[in-house]
C-alpha cells in the first residue's frame, strides 16, 4: 500500500483543484457557488489532492467529483454514504468528502446517512438541499414543503418534510451544521469545521435549483432579508440576530427555543450557544426554530462534540490485536484446529 509522502504540502491554487472537464450544471445553479467555495478553500486546508477523495451518489449535486482534481467516485443513487465509510475504514489517512442532494442522501440514501452518523465515521458530508429532484426534472423531495405541486404531485404533496438537522441529531450525529449557497465565506467556514471534526460531519447547504425550484430560499438567504432571517450560531455566544442584533433566541419555560426581542428580555436571558454540549437536546430545539424556510432560520454549527471515531477505533482494534497476538501467521492459522498426521 502506498501512503502519502511526508513532504511539505505543495502550494496550490483553485486552478490546481479543478479538472479540465466542462461543468455541466444549468447556468445560474447554486451548485456553482458551492464548487467555487470548495475549490477556493482547499488550497488553504493543508491537504494534498492525492489524499483527498470526493464520493457522490447520483443527482445534479452528485456530479461534483468530476470537477475536482482529486480522487473521486461518482457512484450510484443514495450509496455515497454507504461506500465512503468503506474507504475511510480502509484508509484512515485519506480525507473523504461525501456529496449529494436531498433525494440522494435523505430519500434513497437515508439509512446509510443515519448509520454513518451513528457510527461516527470521519467523513465530511455535504448535503446540497434544493428541496427538489433536479436531475430527474422536478419531482418533490423529502425536504419539499407540504402542498408542493410538482410533476409527481400535481395536486400538491401531502407528506411532511424532514428537517435534515433534526434527523441528524436524532441519529446521534456528532457534528451538524448548516450553510447556504449565497455566502461563500460562511460555506467555507462550515466546510473547514467539518474537515477539522474527527467524526462524521454533516453540513446541510441550502442550494438554489433555479430550474425546478427557483427561489426556494429567497425569503431567508437573499442579501436584503438575510440579516433578519438568518440566525448565525456562534459557539459560546448568546444567540442574537437582526441587523443590529435586536432579536435573539431564548428557551421558554418549557425548554423550547423561541425568538425574542432582546430589548424585551435582556441579553442575559438569551440562550448561549454551546455546540459542544454532550446532550443534543438544545441543538435539537434550535433545529425546530424554523421548520421550513418562512421563519428565521439558524445557520452555523448546531453541534460539534467529541466521541469515539469509527475508523480510528477499528484501526486501534487491529493494532491491539497485532500487539497481543503478533502479526498474522498463516501457517499457525491453518494449524489452529486439532490436526492429525497421515504418513
Amino acid at each position: 500500500m502506498s501512503t502519502a509522502p511526508e513532504t511539505a504540502i505543495p502550494v496550490t491554487t483553485k486552478k490546481d483543484w479543478a479538472t479540465d472537464q466542462e461543468v455541466r450544471w444549468c447556468p445560474g445553479c447554486g451548485d456553482y457557488s458551492i464548487l467555487t467555495a470548495v475549490q477556493l478553500m482547499l488550497p488553504d486546508l493543508g491537504v494534498t489532492r492525492e489524499n483527498t477523495v470526493f464520493i457522490s451518489g447520483i443527482g445534479c449535486a452528485a456530479r461534483f467529483p468530476y470537477y475536482m482534481n482529486t480522487y473521486g467516485m461518482h457512484s450510484i443513487h443514495g450509496r455515497a454514504p454507504a461506500i465512503s465509510p468503506g474507504l475511510k475504514l480502509a484508509r484512515p489517512e485519506i480525507d473523504v468528502w461525501v456529496i449529494g442532494g436531498d433525494g440522494d442522501m435523505l430519500s434513497i440514501g437515508g439509512n446509510h446517512l443515519i448509520h454513518a452518523l451513528r457510527r461516527n465515521v470521519n467523513i465530511n458530508i455535504l448535503l446540497f438541499n434544493n428541496r427538489i429532484y433536479g436531475l430527474t426534472k422536478g419531482q418533490y423531495s423529502p425536504t419539499s414543503e407540504v402542498g408542493k405541486v410538482t410533476k409527481s404531485t400535481p395536486f400538491g404533496s401531502v407528506d411532511a418534510p424532514f428537517n435534515p438537522i433534526s434527523v441528524a441529531l436524532g441519529a446521534e450525529a456528532s457534528f451538524v451544521a448548516r450553510t447556504h449557497d449565497m455566502d461563500r465565506k460562511h460555506m467555507q467556514a462550515m466546510f473547514r469545521r467539518a474537515h477539522a471534526h474527527q467524526g462524521a460531519a454533516l453540513v446541510e447547504v441550502f442550494q438554489n435549483c433555479n430550474v425546478f425550484n427557483d427561489g426556494a430560499y429567497d425569503t431567508i438567504t437573499k442579501k436584503d432579508v438575510r440579516g433578519h432571517m438568518l440566525i448565525d450560531l456562534q459557539h459560546g455566544e448568546p444567540i442574537r440576530f437582526g441587523p443590529d442584533g435586536e432579536r435573539g433566541v431564548a428557551l421558554d419555560g418549557r425548554g423550547l427555543a423561541t425568538i425574542v426581542d432582546v430589548a424585551d428580555v435582556g441579553v442575559d436571558a438569551l440562550l448561549v450557544h454551546d455546540e459542544a454540549d454532550p446532550d443534543p437536546s438544545v441543538a435539537f430545539a434550535l433545529s425546530r426554530l424554523s421548520n421550513g424556510v418562512g421563519r428565521p432560520t439558524p445557520i452555523g454549527v448546531f453541534r460539534a462534540v467529541d466521541r469515539p471515531e469509527y475508523a480510528s477505533a477499528t484501526s486501534a482494534q487491529l493494532a491491539e490485536a497485532q500487539a497481543a497476538q503478533g502479526p498474522g501467521d498463516l501457517h499457525a492459522l491453518l494449524h489452529s484446529q486439532p490436526t492429525w498426521d497421515v504418513s
Binding site: 446509510h112 487491529l318 498463516l330
Partner: protein, 627 residues
Amino acid sequence: MTDVADSSTARELSQVIIRFAGDSGDGMQLTGDRFTNASALFGNDLATLPDFPAEIRAPAGTLAGVSAFQVQISDHDITTPGDAPNVLVAMNPAALKSDLGRLEPGGTVIVNEDTFEDRNLAKAGYDTSPLDDDTLGGYTVIRVPMTSLTMEACKDLGVKTRDAERSKNFFALGLISWMYTRPLEPTLDWIDKKFAGKELVIGANKAAFKAGHAYGETAELGEHHFMIRPAALEPGTYTNINGNTALAWGLIAAGHQAKVPLFLGSYPITPASDILHELSKHKNFGVRTLQAEDEIAAVGAALGASYGGHIGLTTTSGPGVALKGETIGLAVSLELPLVIIDIQRGGPSTGLPTKTEASDLMLAMYGRHGEAPLPVIAAYSPAQCFEAALEAVRIAITYRTPVVLLSDGYLANGSEPWRLPDVASLPTIEANYATEPNQVNEDGEPSFWPYQRDENLARPWAIPGTPGLMHRVGGIEKQDGTGNISYDPANHQHMTDIRQARIDKIAESLPPLDVAGDADADLCLLGWGSTWGAITGAVNRMRAGGQKVAQIHLTHLNPLPTELGDLLRRFDHVVVPEMNMGQLTRIIRAEYLVDAISIPKVMGQPFTAGELIERIAAATAASGGPR
C-alpha cells in the same frame, strides 16, 4: 489413540453412516460435531451433513424442532455424508418420526426410550408408541433409557436435575463412541476446554459420556461393536474443516499472498454469517470487518475499500445478492476488484433458510441491469472452499473485476478432512498498484488515464494517496482510456465489448479441464458446486459396476473453460445434476447447442450417490440412448 475402547471384539466395517436426530435443544449438532472430530483425529475419512431448522429453538418435542446431523466415516476416500444412514440415533419421538424414512432398510435405530411418553408422542403425531407397534418392524431397535441413565450417572455430582438431564446427548455420544470404537480422549479434552470454569457441567458431561460408553460394554451390545480403520489418505497433516472456515481462511491466505489487506463488508445471514464471525477474529492479519446496516451498505463499503486499495469482500446468501445487484453493477463499470460470496440456500424469497440449494447461478450471471458480465466461480467441497477463495481473489485483482464466488449451505456447514497446504506452495497474486502516470498530455506533461488497459485488458489500480494519479471514476459510461464521461454511441459499444472481452480473457489463465472417469464413455456427468461429492460417488459406483462414465466438474462458470464445448460434444449424453431446476444446463445448451439433460433437485437436501445413479439411468433412457 491409547484410549480407544478395546477393539479386539469389534467387527471391521469399511464405513458407516450415522444420523443423530433430536430436539433443537438436545445438542445434536454438537454431538455430531464431536463424533466427527474424534473420527477425524482417529484418521478416518469422513463427510458431514448438518440439517437443522430455521428457528433458534422451536418448541420442544415438535416435528418442527427436530435437528439432525449425519456423518459418514470410512477407511477409504469418500465424498459424501452417505445415502441412507445405517444408524439413526433418535433422541425423541419427533426425531424418529421425521427421520426414520431416511434409514436404510434393516438399519439400526437407537432410541432414548425415556422420551417415548404420551406428551411427546402426541407432539410428534404418534397415536401409539412406535416402540410398541409395528412401526419399527424390519429395523434393529436398541432401546436405551438415556435420560434416566444420565441422571443416574450424575446423581452424586451435585448437578441440578435439569442440567444433568441436559447431558444426555453426551450419553448418546459415549454409546456410539463405544459402538464404533472411537477414541475417548478428544471428547474428554474438548469438554474440559469448552466448559472451562464450569466444573459441574464438565462433571456431568463427562459422567454421561462415560456412562454411555460403559453401557455399550455392559449391555450386551456386543453384536453392535465395530471398528473402522483409519483411511489411507495422502500423507500430510490434516484437520477437519467446514466450508465456511475454509473459505474464510482462503480469503486470509489470498490477502497474505497478494500483500493486500482484506476488508469485509457484510450483513449477517444464514448460512453465510460464520464467515463474518471467523474473519472478525483475525484482526491481527489486518482484516477489517464491518457489520453494515444492510446488504447494500455491506457491498458498498467493500467497494469503497477496494477503491482504497484493499480487497473488498462481501459475504451473503441469495436474498443479499438480490439486493446487491445495483452496486455490483457499479463495480462492473468501475472495473475494481471485489469478491461477492454467496452461500446459497433454499429459495425463492426467505425459502428454506437453513437448507441447502444451488439456485443462484443465474442470479450471479445476470442479476444486474444492462450488459454487466462478471466472473463466477464455485467451490465444490468443504475443504476446497479454501482454494476457491484464493482463486476468486486472484481473478478479482488480476482482472480488476467483481467476482461472484458461489458456495452453499451444505458446503458451509459440512466438514471433511483437509490436508493442510504448505504456505510456501500457495500461489502468489500481484496487486500491481499503479504508481506512475501512464500518458503524456497535449502539453507534454505526464498524465494519468484510469482506463488505459494492460495485456489482460485490465485497468490500473491507482489508489488514493498516490501522487499524480488523481482521477475520477463513475457509473456513467466513460471513454475508454481517459475515463471521461462519454455518450458517444461507438464508445458505448466498444466499452461493452471490452468489458466482455476482459472477462472472456480469464479463460486463458485457467488450467486444462480435467475429465475424470472414462474419457471415452458415451455418458458424461457435468456438475458444479457441492454436487461434486455425490456425482463422484455415483461415478465411482457406476464404474465399479462396469459402466463407463466420464465426469467433468466446473469450478469456473463464467467464463467457461475454452475447451469445454469440444469436450462435451464428444459424448452422446451430457447429464447435469444440479441443486436447482437446471440453471447450468441452460447455460450449456445456449453456449454449445449441446442437448444437455438436467437432473434437477430442490429439496433442501443434497443428492445422494444412489439417488443420482437411478436418476441418471432414467434420464438417459428417456433421451433415447446413444445418437
